[in-house]
Amino acid sequence: MGQEIVHKEEWVVSACNLDYNACGIRVKKENGIVVKIEGNPESAIGKGRLCPRGSAGLQILYDPNRVNKPLIRTNPEKGLNVDPKWKEISWDEAMNIIVEKLKEIRETDPRKLVMQGTTTAANTFLGMGMAFQEAFGTPNEFYGGGGLHCGNGAHLVNGVYHASWSLVPDFDYCNLAIYFGASKGHGAGHNANSIMLQAADARVRGMKFIVVDPHLGRAGAKADKWVPIIPGTDSALALGMVNLLINEFGVYDAEYLKLKTDAPYLVGPDRRYLRDRETGKPMIWDPVDERAKVYDDETIRDYALEGVYEVDGVKCKPVFQILKEHVSRYTPERVEEITTVPKETVVELAREFGEKAMIGSTITIGGKSYPYRPVAAIYFRGSQGHKNSVYNCISVELLNQIVGSADVPGGALGFNSVCFGYPETGKPRWEPKKGKDGFMMTGTWVVPHHQPFPIPEPRKPQKMGLNDLFPSAMHSFVYGAPDQEEIWQEFRLEYRPSVIINFGSNAVMSVGDPEPIAENLKKYDFIISFDIYLNEFTNGFADLVLPDACYLERLDPSPNYPPILNHPGGLGKWTYQIRQPVVKPLHDRRSYSEVLLEIAERLGLREALYETLNIKFELEGKYRLDPERKYTWEEICDLVLKNKFGDDKGLEWFKEHGALTWEKKPDEVYWRWRIDVRVPLYWEFLYDLRDKARKIVEELGARANIDWSFYEPLPDFKPCPSHEMEDEEYDLYGFYYREIRHTNSFTMQIPWLDEVSVNDPYTYNIEIHPETARKKGLRDGDLVWVENPHGSRVKGRIRFTEGIHPKALGFAACAGHWCDCQPIAKGKGIFFNKLLRVDWNHVNPVNLNLDLCVKLKIYRAE
């Protein structure tokens, strides 16, 4: 008789991390081996659903290509295709090297350290990574392409208008959602799985859904109507619609504009608000009393939105009047010229949006009456990833503002701008508040010590990305700029960054043209990289690679906090959950947070780190970390949880239950009229930013070619370099789109995902309209080169689809790995980013967002 086989089955509740959404998961183990991952139906984050990446995640855990031991580079040469000649070393040796390197720069100039993360694992990086950065005293962080491509504009504009990171339609009540380069509810983006369900239910309910995009992607495939548009021209279409709404149809929510925006603020001939001499507050015109008053004067009987007035001899107009005049240039004919959207379609879109807004209507929810505006204009990466990033987003947002559909039932909702907290403790709690000129400040942000508005004053650059001179930029192009050193010299950066601690970012692939990035990376003295796989960044440039624990081996106390980043919006439930190790880290893998904790201890940074964590996690009273004693990461996580939810809901409780869930209140979701705040249609503050930044630039004598016309208070269509390209040979607009099966370049090594990708005609190929191809004598499946005007080119096969604008070429995701260390990913797909220029001419001069459309020529490669 053989031994009896014991079968032990176990389920562990945790959170995914194959992108930033951190969906709730349940993981099945058989005899200690992970065999299956499912969605956790108890969690509002994912609602029991997983995307393909989430299901395939267990293949990461056991992939034989994982990094399992610390590796030190023995080849001093660095470069895109250089063999690093890795040598395995022990953790002890690795830690000694790291501490020595960091001690040196901490003592000489802490600014020399760069903390580099990735949006993929943002919720881990934002915890310990950012706390370590602050404790160390460096202002430098970089998020790879995920950050630079995706969010400088949308997050800024959503922060200003919705006190939130991003936007969704109110799927419960919305009747018409128009998406401008967004995919909310189709498998990509924030809260992907939860809102996929919400969007599907909304469509069944009858919500009409229109997608404006050069590409008929997953969103377009589910839409009632797809409106192909030239990439980067969204502002022209949106401003054309605003023009029709207010100048032709007379459709606008006057009450909302008067009470919730700066539409009535008077603007003088200097294009600044007319301000009260004594208080400095903006003035409005009261048409009943026929005189100007400060905007919050309690005697105001009405607000003029239109007309010309004279105040103390100064002629002035309300913002709304100026807006009316400003948008009148965007006639349907002109919009068609810029966007290729037929003028009839422009009129139809505007008319339908205006009609369906049902201005003046109300709805009762939970016994309380709210304004009901069941239309939403949603924007994200597609519209914001351009030189005109900020204006594209503001222009689309104006549609919501004009009809009053911001954060009311049926409208465009920030998620989650208000939180009343877990009922038993009242924590976490935040809501927007009133700031300067009556404008809204966010209640919380991704880092609690910062608000996106008011935008901080520009300062002489201390950050390597110049973000302090351009303070609405959270990510900067300077990292990958070919003239990086000249930029630093011109802006008199006092030091040069010399050490990077990287956490999972493959910045060589994710940013843009890799050649200048490679040259820039060669200048660093030492690069430490926490990775689960070796990749083009680590192999080419890292000096020391640390075997990171993957999300199934790691503890994170707050994967969905703060919930403006990745918690579903709208009505429903709140969930707070943890990510916990499903298995102990295999081999010599160690978790990033634990390693940083140990490094801080060995550098003598305990007090600085603990105090920073106290602020970051808002730890109070007995839950504060006491620098007199040493804590483990588990103990810290325990305090973070008990601080929010009480002594009975610490780490042990969360390990067992995984997720704490409670009901959202309608007033948390539909807060706009409850909270006394306004938002700006007219970004007067851009003038202050411009004047201060320009003065610094002039004082420094920097010759940077900054187009200050992007700092005008009202948005305009401003062309990207691709729109201005005159050489007719480069006749197609190249852009990339998010392939929902992949998270940037990170997941292409996963066999299941690869299998579905190679079987999809488009994922690893180039999309072209058949008519366009035929005119060029190209056939479906041809191998072609596509080349930008600077001579960079990539090779791939074309596949025909009518789901692409005839003047465009579409590329999926961030593909085209060339590194041997990811054998499944290697050679698959197209490395589109190689075609992107990373320089002043290709960034938005307000927020430094990279322009992601590029003019291309195409020719056969065989």
């Binding site: 602050e134 202002p139 010590h449 996106p452 959270m474 201060k692």
Partner: protein
Amino acid sequence: MTETARVVVKFFGFIMDVVKKPEIEVEIKEECSVMEFVHRLADMFGDRFRERVLTDCGEIRDHVRISIGKEMVDKEDYEKRLIKPGMNGEAFKLFVFSSQMGG
């Protein structure tokens, strides 16, 4: 109160390159507000400190946090909250955060 006393000041975050040491002692003769005390530190450390910590109008910048001992001082209390000699042994802690993350 006339007697001179010392306040321990600890610095954290993106200010170490300016102040060089993590901790100093500052003599004060009289009670002063948190705001006045920060201005005093700015006078001691000069323009680079001032730029990092104060706005052009002399307000404490939004990304600065201050605690007295274990207690965070609310932004609204910068003018009201008093720094007293000795402060019962509690340190004045000034945190300068750098990461702005959008907007």
